[in-house]
Amino acid sequence: MLSVLQPKVGIVSCSGEELAQGTVARLATLKVLHELRPTHTVTICLPLFLAGGEGDREFARFHPTITVDGCDLRCAARGTEMYSGKPTASVVVDDLVAAAGLAPPEGRRALNDAGKLAVTLVAERIARLVDDVLDRRQRASPAAPSPAPGGGDPDPPSCSCRSRRGPA
């Protein structure tokens, strides 16, 4: 019942396998889902917009959505808009890293120190955006329960493909 009452922000990551920035996007998204805002976030695998069903394509209609991209191709943002709905906010790893003056991340398989710093930077940015989105919804619908970022929640962060998160 709690999950019905509490708004969830959808986070869609590019996960780009070819670049270290894709790994940063993926790990930052997971950090938000599992550590920073577990109560108020949910995710979906980007390819499900094409490979899944109509329910998957309605993701951005069900959830205010933040996309997280590794590079300026912006596959997550453009793919989400193309197949599901316009994202509420977007993050590009390259842009945040450059703005913060960090060294470019390296190591798509195992990030270097700059990459790990970038994960923290990007995750914190996503978390602030989650708070902003929920604050705006709260102001628009004052009857809705207020967000409690990082608070305990019996309803765990989940993947919207409705499958289990780990092996049986």
Partner: protein
């Protein structure tokens, strides 16, 4: 292997919600970086979602091996959707069923079982890649 052997594109699923997606990703790195760096090219699935022309052309012109984390088989479906040919598809769960001792856990960071499962999967697929490059097909090994 001859100089004319085709390059094989490897496409893992981008599964972000589940351990099996991380195993798929790790296995693709094992294959493309360690085991068969000369004969394989990794293609990001997100590019096929977007319809990026260079990625689409690559899967149209080269045989593709897909590694999927769940039964939805996003990587395999998207290669076909992009006009490519899936020479071989692998589902992580099928490999895990044959190696129950290697139970994967973790998503952002795989446990030892997950890393070993990825390696086993990659070694199996490396043999298939060799077959594809030798003959142009993966006869008899269409689905792991």
């Amino acid at each position: 292997m001859t100089g004319t052997a085709p390059q094989v594109v490897v496409i893992p699923c981008s599964g972000i919600g589940k351990t099996y997606g991380s195993v798929a990703r790790e296995a693709a790195y094992d294959l493309c970086e360690d085991l068969r760096p000369e004969g394989t090219t990794l293609v990001a699935l997100a590019k096929l979602v977007l319809g990026e022309e260079e990625a689409r052309e690559r899967v149209r012109s080269c045989p593709a091996v897909t590694i999927d984390g769940c039964k939805l088989m996003c990587a395999s479906k998207l290669v076909t959707h992009s006009g490519g040919r899936v020479a071989h598809e692998v589902a992580v769960l099928d490999v895990y069923r044959r190696h129950k001792e290697l139970k994967p856990e973790g998503i952002g960071e795989l446990n030892e079982g997950g890393l070993k499962l990825a390696r086993v999967l990659a070694e199996e697929v490396a043999g298939v890649v060799d077959e594809i490059r030798r003959t142009g097909t993966a006869a008899g090994v269409g689905h792991a």
